[in-house]
Symmetry: C2
Subunit: 241 residues, 2 copies
Amino acid sequence: MRAWPDGSVAGMSSPARSGTRSARGRRGVRPSGDDREGAILATAERLLGERSISEISTDDLARGAGISRPTFYFYFPSKDAVLLALLDRVVAEADAALDRVPDDMASDPPRYWRRCIAAFHETFSAHRPVALACAAARVTNAEVRELWARVMSSWTLLVAEAIECERRRGAAPPGLAARDLAVVLNSMNERVLHATFAQDGPAVAEADVVDVLLTVWLNAIYQTTTPPGDADSPQATPDSS
Amino acid sequence: MRAWPDGSVAGMSSPARSGTRSARGRRGVRPSGDDREGAILATAERLLGERSISEISTDDLARGAGISRPTFYFYFPSKDAVLLALLDRVVAEADAALDRVPDDMASDPPRYWRRCIAAFHETFSAHRPVALACAAARVTNAEVRELWARVMSSWTLLVAEAIECERRRGAAPPGLAARDLAVVLNSMNERVLHATFAQDGPAVAEADVVDVLLTVWLNAIYQTTTPPGDADSPQATPDSS
DNA sequence: CACGGTATCGACAGCCTGTCGAGTCAGTCA
DNA sequence: TGACTGACTCGACAGGCTGTCGATACCGTG
């Protein structure tokens, strides 16, 4: 007879796993496979709040989920795969938060960009341990690295298109290739948010970080922190309050 | 009888190591301790060009230096300590390169900032494998993390002071706290250079990276890419060519 | 009730790290 | 010259971690 230390988490099986387990609905005396998988993910997220990924063994994850180490490998091929599944969920959440930002860039650019930056800040702030662990795993694990690279590329593309849009509108001056600008601004956010969350090296106070980043974004894109919105005529100098 | 695969590197014993070996000058039939230490460092730098630090074992380092694994521990307490010694050398080189930048910020600000950014780019570019390995080791090793944090803090302080100087001169407008601005700009450079060197995710082409970074720096600090130099009067609009 | 897929674990092999104690060697000093 | 010292070297060991294999238990279904 065994104990089941970790309760299941509510649903949401990882979309990354090519699930062999098809239909749910089984309810036996022992927890179902989905419960186990959820328990492993929950254990991982919990333990990541206490110590770094390299200090967590597959044994820790297995015991935390109430199973033996070999059984862990029935659900995930490795420790990194757990992290990958967690990252998937966080990335999906960030994308969803970004989707919820109203698409009204032209009417008030600073407000728009601020909401975008804040969306990332809030999402990753809510999953700080996972974000930090993934940044750590990226250096050793190719899959994590590639997933993150893909995600950053897609966000970079979005930003580059927005910048070009602002240039066509006459709100932003021509300058660097929009993609290059998008790359460095996204990179800046990534590193600065990481440093702020990890308290690693020189960092900006958490309360200020979104505004500091926003200011640099606006200056880099518009050469001013008060770019013209809809009401202003194109090419206008930004001195209307 | 043994072979000594790796020749010694020219002098420069790591300043980080609290050397118990005091006087040199011994020349026996077998290589001296300094030769060994140099051979280990040289082997590490060479192997880092081929694979990542996590794929290099202490055995690899020992064999590369022509010694057994236990003997490795006579010279360094761990694999990470070797990396720390390599990082020490690169940081010293970067500081030296920064010192060689002429202190003429006021006469031509873009040229000054460009030289600073290029100094880092060139130094880390010349030691790409070490730079990447240290970035990787930082996430697991507290000593590497602290050394890097200290280094970044000192560079941030330098930048913050330069920004305040430009503001007093009237060349740069007031705005964000100079330290916050310095932190995010330095963070941007760190992440962007890393991505460029590692070809990791969306990156800027190596040939363009210094100019792209410079442009963002100038816009963030001056709100223009053509800030006034000595000749221009303070507060002047920058339309003189 | 037999069967097959799901789920579980003990035991093993293999890799890596770091340590211990024994041993070698060159120079020193009485 | 012969004992001594300190620098240097390594075989062998202990312990931790990962991933796999084969045997086994459970459960719904035909």
